[in-house]
Symmetry: C2
Subunit: 314 residues, 2 copies
Amino acid sequence: MNFPGVEAINEASKRISPFIHRTPALTSKSIDEIHKARLYFKCENFQKVGAFKYRGATNAIHQLSLSQLQNGVATHSSGNHAQALALAAKIKKVKSFIVMPSNAPKSKRDAVIGYGANVIDCDPTLEAREATLDQVIKEKKAHFIHPYNDYRIIEGQATAAKELIEDVPDLDYLIAPVGGGGLLSGSALSVKYFSANTKTIGAEPSGADDAFRSFSTGEIIPSVNPDTIADGLLTSLGSKTFPIIKEYVEQILTVDDSKIIDAMKLIWQRMKIIVEPSAAVPLAVVMEYQHIFEGKKIGIILTGGNVDFNKLPF
Amino acid sequence: MNFPGVEAINEASKRISPFIHRTPALTSKSIDEIHKARLYFKCENFQKVGAFKYRGATNAIHQLSLSQLQNGVATHSSGNHAQALALAAKIKKVKSFIVMPSNAPKSKRDAVIGYGANVIDCDPTLEAREATLDQVIKEKKAHFIHPYNDYRIIEGQATAAKELIEDVPDLDYLIAPVGGGGLLSGSALSVKYFSANTKTIGAEPSGADDAFRSFSTGEIIPSVNPDTIADGLLTSLGSKTFPIIKEYVEQILTVDDSKIIDAMKLIWQRMKIIVEPSAAVPLAVVMEYQHIFEGKKIGIILTGGNVDFNKLPF
């Protein structure tokens, strides 16, 4: 397969830089002391729409031709990709059509509408989402932008790790959470191209361990009834993300929800920043597998900070 | 009265700079749009111990003579000053004795003990706190460091506004919350010395409006049964803080708790940072008095981020 090359990631970086925040890499002395490691947190919770997803959505939209842009863009998502695509479309002054399951949190639905998107409701099943999206695309002739299984998305997400590597050289490990694999595959490519001695690790909830099982067996094993508080990581790997992960990711490590909650609380308490459960999975992995990470210099992508304050796990 | 001069604040700044974080001034496009103003948030929630109080405590301790340091330092506090003095003492390698009321949150008590302080419990009344502290000072011969009514503390707290002014020149307003007045008096001095065209505003909860009433009448009117979610602002002005405030603060504005909670939630949601209720009072004032602040360039001191996650108001 022709994976995105170093030039594609460099171009994505240039393309999106006027539109995104270059987020800081924060450290916490007390968290370092607890885990006997040097941790650098890439704060994509401070990214526009509160999540790294804005990078991929922006990179995709800004590559569309005028004729492609004419009828707008479309996707299905209940999460951060929905907001990301809606805002990226607004900035580019094109229409967006977002298919959202009827059980999506009201706050996320409101945010998407707030960015000027057209929200189309559907039943909360993957089948209903795909069928509704197909119909929207057919009717509106909108351009579909998949949340992760798309090289334009992967290249965009890769820019977070690229920036972290620029700010913090000589990392021993870079850890990113894995859901559909857009961020993890992009991060692995950036590590390969810009920091060859760093190892990329995928961090996954035990309750949604399809990437772990796919990685172990070498074949995509879809997620069946995933159950985890990390609601951004419920999706399964895709045909474009998995081959990159298989090739360039060192290992996928899983953790239970209780550790994820501990890690999330630690970040809130010690760093005074808000991260969503999915963003805490890499730190949970550092806590769980101390024998691997002790004494190491580790980059962590804090993926986002969109939390429903009425449903905090602590 | 001989208020602290410009040199005292410059020296405090030099004295404490090796020990404190120079915190960032963050902005939020969406909060600016909502309030039609340009807001710059000085993030003392990222300060050591999670609050600006570490500045004053550090400035005080580092001015003590060897003989003063010998028997350690003491104070009474249920809040951020307790943690600040405990850590500043630990860094300076001196003992600390912190008198805490028996109803202080366990998390704060644990944090103070975690910094190596000796915690002495007392009944939760001001009388009991003062009597217990007197006894501790007599027994241990420790040096008392008042949470706010002390020029060394005021000079230390002044450095937050000084840094904000350096990072963001030409502010129309600088807004700080007011409890005992250490931060507000220090901020007003920094504004006077370093940004003479800026106006300093005190922000106070309606349920603890002793500073507003003192400022209106010209005499210190102590707080009686204050009732507000902003638990860092329950104390009354002091004999050293009030004269500075009377002289150099433009106005004290009060807001209800419901607005404070709205402001706190807005900061959490839009900026993805954790601030305590007291820290949200200045933004609540901007929301409440839009006719004053519309179109203006405003500096806000976010005083701290020590929150009990089990008692969130939203």
